[in-house]
């Protein structure tokens, strides 16, 4: 970490890194920023500095998005990909034979795919995800924003409706014993058997 501390991640440094990401035109440049931000993020988490962690996370995601967009461009025009912008007035580069591969760049196929998908997320949605105060942004979460909503399963709709029924019928304001008081024996047996299983099931993935 070059002796950097999470506390040393001030706003000015954040802005600087954002500018560096915007200005970058080679994958390895943004990959380097991304790796530094990632290391910083882990360090900040261990130090329990949530603000620094969040900022580092944002830098990482911005770098990943930029890397994704550069990788997508590279894939579209493999002939000159990875060569960067030609100098003003300079000669046009010949299509190279030595374009760095993903392996050369230290990027996995999954990362390449995820980052390119993140690059396809509209700017407004991406910024909204980073600005969401209730939800820590993640690569998967941001990619998920562009995914077409899956149709709601019958069971999901049913469960949602029945949970709402608890509220609608006012059951939540009454005690469990009071609600069960008039049940006949076989009904009580069913409740005794199923209620703990349902309660456990509801709590399992929460």
């Amino acid at each position: 970490m070059d002796g950097e501390q999470p506390e040393a991640f001030p706003l000015v440094r954040y802005d600087e890194m954002c500018r560096a990401i915007d200005a970058a035109y080679q994958v390895d440049e943004v990959k380097d920023i991304r790796n530094k931000a990632r290391a910083f993020e882990v360090y900040a988490r261990q130090a329990k500095n949530t603000e620094a962690e969040r900022r580092a996370c944002e830098i990482r995601l911005r770098a990943e998005r930029k890397a994704g967009s550069l990788l997508a461009e590279r894939d579209k025009a493999p002939g000159t990909a990875g060569m960067g912008r030609p100098p003003l007035g300079g000669r046009t580069a010949e299509p190279p034979n030595d374009v760095p591969t993903l392996r050369d760049l230290g990027i996995s196929k999954q990362q390449s795919s995820d980052w390119q998908r993140m690059a396809a997320v509209p700017e407004q949605e991406f910024e909204a995800a980073l600005a969401d105060p209730d939800d820590k942004p993640t690569t998967a979460g941001i990619i998920g924003r562009t995914r077409k909503a899956e149709p709601v399963e019958d069971d999901a709709l049913w469960l949602w409706g029945r949970l709402l029924d608890f509220e609608r019928r006012g059951l939540l304001t009454r005690s469990f014993d009071e609600v069960c008081r008039t049940m006949v024996p076989h009904m009580r047996e069913t409740v005794r058997e199923l209620a703990p299983q349902i309660s456990k099931w509801l709590a399992r993935d929460q």
Partner: protein, 145 residues
């Protein structure tokens, strides 16, 4: 059939049904036969007329059973369980699509009970799912606005 005649026919079916209220099983065909006996129509006079009259009476009886028994205007409130339990329920059909035979609730077998529970649940589930879907759609639209 004129409205007045239809109403009179319905009334006769009702009277026959009420007289036989405690009969274990009632079917539209049985009710139609009883109605024709009631009005004095006999098979011996004119076979074709009798069969056509029986067909018509059976149709009226089928309507009567569906409305009177299944939508039960005289449904009884059970002492123990909430909601209204019918006096009669359709017996589990031996062949799919056969005309329902309505039997007294107390005489139903466990199979008949299970058949009716499943039938009522199917009807209720599709309405419930419709209501849930509409509610979810409404909330989704409100949120998107």
């Amino acid at each position: 059939m004129k409205d007045k005649d239809a109403s009179r026919a319905w009334q006769i079916v009702g009277e026959v049904y009420d007289r036989c209220r405690h009969q274990p099983e009632v079917s539209p065909a049985w009710l139609a036969t009883q109605v024709l006996v009631e009005i004095g129509a006999t098979r011996a006079e004119n076979e074709i007329e009798y069969l056509l009259a029986h067909l018509q009476a059976r149709q009226i009886a089928r309507d009567f059973c569906r409305k009177r028994i299944e939508d039960d205007e005289t449904a009884e409130r059970d002492d123990l369980f909430p909601g209204t339990l019918q006096h009669r329920y359709p017996r589990k059909p031996a062949i799919k699509g056969e005309e329902p035979v309505y039997m007294l609730r107390d005489l139903m077998t466990d199979e008949d009970v299970a058949y009716n529970v499943a039938r009522l649940r199917d009807e209720a589930d599709s309405k419930l799912m419709h209501a849930d879907a509409l509610e979810a759609w409404g909330k989704d639209r409100k949120r998107a606005a």
